[in-house]
């Protein structure tokens, strides 16, 4: 059935996201928070995350451009980013944030620049993957709950 196919696809997508390390257990926590009261909680949070993180990333980019030696500032930005990435379970992105922060601590500008590029890439990739995932989910309908629109 179309529906079950979609569901299977969605499940598969999710599994691969986990397997490839894009997501971690924290994402499960988010899913658990989703219920009848907040049926789209996960997607909402993820959307909010990408909006915030995009802003932070552009701040970092600006800082790297204009005042690259201000490592403490960079550190502050990435710390914030790290907080939210870990909250949604974006594991690879979080790791990249950690690496970036380490470079900041070492005041290694080149390392920072390189790491930042990776960070941006990870961010973009994750965004795209999650967007597809949620798109699929929307088609599938609420998976967890018993109530499902009859197809």
């Amino acid at each position: 059935m179309e529906y079950s196919n979609l569901r299977r696809q969605a499940a598969y997508m999710k599994k691969s996201l986990f397997d490839q390390g894009y997501l971690d257990e924290q994402f499960y926590q988010l899913e658990e928070l989703q219920d009848d009261v907040s049926p789209n909680f996960v997607e909402e949070v993820v959307t909010l995350f990408f909006r915030d993180s995009a802003r932070l990333i552009s701040n970092i980019e600006q800082a790297l451009d204009k005042c690259p030696q201000e490592f403490s500032k960079l550190n502050a930005f990435v710390h914030q980013l790290k907080g939210s990435t870990s909250s949604i379970g974006a594991s690879r992105l979080k790791n990249e944030c950690t690496r970036f922060r380490d470079y900041c601590d070492e005041e290694n500008l080149e390392g920072c620049l390189k790491s930042f590029q990776k960070l941006k890439r990870e961010h973009a990739v994750l965004r795209q993957k999650l967007e597809s995932y949620f798109q699929l989910l929307r088609q599938v309908g609420p998976v967890e709950k018993a109530t499902r629109p009859s197809m």
């Binding site: 907040s38 915030d52 914030q80 909250s87």
Partner: protein, 739 residues
């Protein structure tokens, strides 16, 4: 998706926020305030907490959170705050909250480094959660609320027994508080807390429930309230101020003429005491046991301070008791300062310091006398909650500073302690978790007040002189230091038994648990606490005492009259400086202290890191605090205002705090100390520490004082005041209520 409430006015279950929750479904309905600048995290945590059936309010900024907390005091049970925030450091917020509201605060951060966590601990956070948060972690945060209440009750019980006598003299409700506090079960605690929260937390005297049905609620002379009172008195003219007219001028709903009358009486006593310090003789008086009365008042003050101290620093109930009940002996010499003694001493010192605060020369004297404290406070400082005291102290410092904005100088101390106020100096944060917290952490570790406790041997007889000297020295130099030390000591020592009121040696060693420092020791302690000045004469730096108090939770503060850190100032301000009108809002602090009731008076958080770093005569203080904690790097610790005033006030405060301290939580103790200091100052200050410098410096102190006062005041409300009617001038330093 249920919207996150930015400012919830109703519980998730639909009940009004301030309504008592049915105990049966606890922890459901626990009122949590979440502060985090990261919206994603905020949303997630909000959802998680709601899943736990908590009543959640979210806030994305620290300043907004603080405003909300202030506005809706008593409407929250717990605060969850992120560490890294753009507008205010999470630790600072922690301090503020601890000082002002005395709520349990849990820190969160993605940073799981040991240092970060340690910082949280030393700043007085109840817990430190690592992000990303999980449901499991959040499910059990209610335990902190329960624990805190239980501790408060315990303090209450402990101090209650000692103060029973005092209490009996007071309004019956005091006893009620104590008795209800003895129930112990968290339910009772909770209920009582809720009830009392209603009563006690109020800045104004507004009882939410019908007072007549419960025990007669005590009037909490918050900083604001006291300020209003003072304004009214001044408007009428001190001589012509009669309760009825004052009441009319104050326009405070719920305040009775009797409340005003008793407060006025205290205030008058305080003023008298404060105005005395100018004369050497006067100074000596307290020490040389010149008068029972003096001591007595001092005692009360001490008790009061102690309470505050205790509150802030979590003075152990025992200390409080000791402080409270210990006979006031003038003999300072190496008094094993029973807390009471210390308190007495502290009071004296405080008085002296207060006086000193007002005038440098005076201060000198006081300093001298107070110098002896160093040894004392140190010991007390050890009080358990060094860290806490420190924080407290710091907060105090902050508070005091903030208080200084106009607030009575005296009250500075408390405000300093409170730190919650945005300390100009550097934002000490109430809760002691502010900057001072940082320092506190530092100090907390070093703060081995316990050891120092015994060291503070104030030799009374000489105290007057030494104090003066000390004060001078300190005052001149590190004002800020002093307070801190004192604060520290106070907090720590508060519990440690203030041996001897014997003036000089405030052996702050007192059993004051925490920050219960005799006024004298307070000063001394605070100094001691502040590493800065080993000799920090806490006393002197009344102003500076704040930092002391703050930093060290100087329990020993009790002995030193110097309200450590800020508190001292506040005290000084409040007490002597009546003229100054700037009663440091210590009163508030003190009130808070009172409220904290269950603290064991440990000046735990005396966050010495009192920004205002004034080494009040820390230099001079002979207070051999030896304890490293004294080396409170935090300037905040430095008694802000070397004014001995503080010391003096602190003492009183300490004393009074002592009584209250039983309840206060450790953190509050620092705060309280401040208040105590403030109180002291209020009391002592008859002279009106209008020392502008002091004021400035004390700005933070004031804040602290205010805070302290609030705390103390509140505590007094609880029963500290009971200690000694005259000393308990809860609202002395209300002037400065900076908040």
């Amino acid at each position: 998706m249920e919207p996150s409430r930015a400012a919830a006015s109703t519980a998730s279950s639909g009940r009004p926020r301030n309504a008592l929750r049915p105990l049966s479904d606890f922890p459901a309905g626990l009122r949590v305030l979440v502060v985090d600048d990261d919206l994603t995290c905020l949303k997630i945590i909000d959802r998680m907490l709601r899943k736990c059936l908590y009543d959640v309010t979210v806030c994305s900024g620290a300043a907004a959170a603080l405003a909300m907390l202030r506005e809706k005091k008593g409407e929250f049970d717990l605060v969850l705050s992120d560490v890294y925030m753009p507008d205010m450091d999470g630790f600072k917020l922690l301090e503020h909250i601890g000082l002002e509201m005395d709520l349990p605060v849990i820190m969160m951060s993605a940073d799981d480094g040991k240092d970060a966590v340690m910082k949280g601990v030393t700043h007085g956070a109840c817990d430190y959660l690592i992000k990303p948060l999980s449901m499991e972690a959040l499910k059990n945060i209610w335990q902190h609320v329960v624990r805190k209440r239980r501790n408060e009750l315990k303090e209450l019980e402990h101090s209650g027994s000692a103060e029973e006598n005092d209490r009996k003299k007071r309004a019956p409700e005091e006893g009620d508080n104590a008795s209800s506090g003895n129930e112990g079960s968290w339910k009772n605690v909770k209920r009582r807390r809720d009830e009392e929260g209603e009563v006690v937390v109020q800045e104004e005297v507004e009882e939410r429930e019908d007072p007549s049905t419960l025990k007669k609620p005590r009037v909490v002379w918050s900083v604001d309230l006291h300020r209003q009172f003072v304004a009214a008195v001044n408007q009428l003219g001190v001589d012509k101020a009669v309760p009825k007219k004052i009441l009319e001028l104050m326009h405070v709903h719920g305040l009775t003429r009797e409340n005003v009358a008793s407060h006025l009486q205290k205030y008058r006593l305080y003023m008298r005491r404060v105005s005395v310090p100018q004369h050497q003789g006067r100074l000596d008086t307290p020490y040389t046991g010149s008068s029972e009365a003096t001591f007595r008042s001092v005692d009360s003050f001490d008790g009061f301070d102690l309470h505050s101290l205790a509150v802030s620093s979590q003075l152990s109930p025992q200390s409080l008791t000791t402080l409270h009940s210990a006979p006031r002996r003038v003999t300072n010499t190496s008094i094993g300062m029973s807390s009471v003694d210390q308190m007495g001493f502290f009071n004296s010192s405080a008085q002296i310091s207060n006086a000193s605060n007002i005038r440098p020369p005076l201060m000198q004297q006081i300093n001298k006398q107070q110098m002896n404290f160093p040894s004392g406070p140190s010991t007390s400082m050890e009080s358990r909650q060094l860290g806490q005291s420190q924080q407290l102290i710091q907060s105090y410092g902050n508070m005091g500073l903030q208080a200084s904005e106009g607030a009575s100088v005296l009250l500075n101390l408390p405000s300093l302690l409170r730190t919650s106020t945005s300390f100009p100096g550097g934002s000490i944060n109430a809760n002691l978790s502010n900057s001072s917290v940082m320092q506190m952490t530092h100090r907390g570790q070093q703060f081995s007040l316990s050891q120092q406790r015994n060291q503070i041997h104030a030799s009374m007889p000489q105290l007057p002189q030494t104090r003066g000297l000390i004060l001078n020295g300190i005052a001149g130099e590190h004002d800020s230091r002093l307070p801190t030390t004192i604060g520290q000591i106070l907090s720590n020592e508060v519990s440690s038994h203030i041996s001897g009121r014997s003036g000089s040696n405030m052996n702050v060693d007192t059993s004051l648990p925490g920050g219960y420092m005799n006024a004298s020791s307070y000063g001394a302690v605070s100094h001691a606490l502040y590493a800065d000045f080993p000799n920090s004469c806490m006393n002197e730096s009344t102003g500076s005492c704040y930092p002391l108090a703050r930093s060290v939770g100087a329990t020993s503060l009790t002995s030193t009259a110097m309200p450590p850190v800020g508190d001292v100032e506040a005290l000084g301000n409040s007490t002597g400086l009546r003229g100054a009108k700037d009663f440091v809002p210590n009163y508030d602090l003190f009130s808070e202290l009172h409220q904290s009731k269950s603290q064991d008076w440990k000046l735990q958080n005396i966050n010495v890191s009192y920004p205002s770093d004034q080494h009040l005569g820390s230099k001079q203080s002979n207070i051999a605090f030896g304890s490293p904690s004294l080396a409170h790097q935090d300037s905040s610790a430095t008694v802000k205002d070397g004014s001995s005033r503080n010391t003096r006030t602190v003492r009183k405060e300490i004393f009074s705090v002592r009584t209250e301290i039983g309840h206060e939580k450790g953190e509050r103790i620092a705060q309280r100390n401040r208040t105590i200091l403030v109180e002291n100052s209020v009391r002592l200050k008859s002279e009106g520490m209008s020392d502008p410098r002091y004021q400035d410096v004390l700005f933070d102190d004031n804040i602290i004082q205010n805070e302290l006062m609030n705390v103390v005041g509140k505590k007094q409300q609880e029963g500290v005041v009971q200690v000694d009617p005259e000393l308990n001038f809860d609202g002395y330093s209300l002037d400065n209520i900076p908040s």
